[in-house]
């Protein structure tokens, strides 16, 4: 049982590592946000599940932490992405279409 | 093990503090100082002081950031008004 918890913890920390690697490697802000939001959420969830398996009495607090992370992490990244978009952080060179700019009245350049 | 983590966290904290000093834009400097308080909070916890860590988290991470940003936004508002006069 303890080993199962340890494996969960290591899987979680690997996802956290992938998130940090994505923060370094991705070319523009929104892609960084994709890696930074999703991978950290599941990483923390897996780590805390592992913690709860090893220490069964801590299940309640670990579950509460997981709830907090699931609800607050997408919200904060959504707020940040909107703020960045409205202050003019552009999509990277690889971007294919931007319908929000089209809706704002510039031009419709979707494929 | 513990000692190595304490040393790495302390180094990171120093780097974040120096970054906060040398960054050009003020909002980035506020974010870097938020990182300093985050690392300080983990360090306090490693030194077995959960109450201090909790206070550091609450004050350093939220209150200081919000107050600094509030002051910055007030300053920005002043600057915008000045050229009109």
């Amino acid at each position: 049982m303890e080993i199962l918890g340890g494996i969960f913890a290591i899987a979680g920390s690997i996802f956290l590592f992938l998130a940090a690697l994505g923060l370094i490697r991705m070319p523009d802000l929104y892609d960084r946000m994709q890696a930074g939001t999703k991978a950290t959420t599941l990483g923390t969830m897996l780590f805390l599940i592992g913690l709860a398996i090893v220490e069964p009495l801590w299940t309640g607090k670990a579950a509460l932490l997981i709830l907090f992370v699931i609800f607050s992490n997408p919200l904060s990244s959504h707020t940040l992405a909107r703020a960045a978009y409205h202050t003019g952080v552009t999509l990277g060179e690889r971007a294919s279409c931007d319908e929000l700019a089209g809706a704002c009245g510039d031009e419709e350049d979707s494929a | 093990m513990n000692l190595a983590i304490v040393i790495i966290l302390g180094l990171l904290m120093l780097i974040a503090a120096v970054t906060a000093l040398y960054l050009k834009t003020l909002s980035s400097a506020v974010i870097a100082s938020g990182a300093v308080s985050l690392l300080a909070s983990i360090l306090f916890l490693l030194l077995a002081a959960p109450d201090v860590a909790m206070t550091e988290a609450a004050i350093g991470s939220a209150l200081t950031t919000v107050v600094f940003l509030y002051a910055l936004s007030r300053m920005r508002g002043k600057k915008k008004e000045e050229p009109r006069d």
Partner: protein, 86 residues
């Protein structure tokens, strides 16, 4: 056995904390730095969970709870400032 696995996890988390810190140093705009700070917060939550496990005291998880709630407020304040001022 569980101790060893958790220690390996802690080492990986420290590496990812350092990587997120690098993005905080490099990030061209304030929003990039805020994203890095957000990621660092979540990694720190897990690290606090590891410290709680190693010292065997459940009270440490309360620090993580407070931190998770409070840092969310901080990041939202930064986003609002970046958008138009608090």
């Amino acid at each position: 056995m569980a101790d060893l696995l958790f220690n390996i996890a802690a080492v990986i988390m420290m590496i990812s904390l350092v990587l997120a810190m690098v993005r905080l140093l490099l990030g061209p705009t304030a929003a990039d730095r805020a994203v890095a700070l957000d990621a660092m917060t979540i990694i720190a939550l897990s690290l606090i969970g590891w410290i709680a496990f190693m010292s065997g005291r459940v009270i440490y998880l309360d620090v993580a709870l407070v931190y998770g709630l409070i840092s969310f407020v901080g990041v939202v304040a930064i986003a609002r400032y970046v958008e138009r001022g608090v």
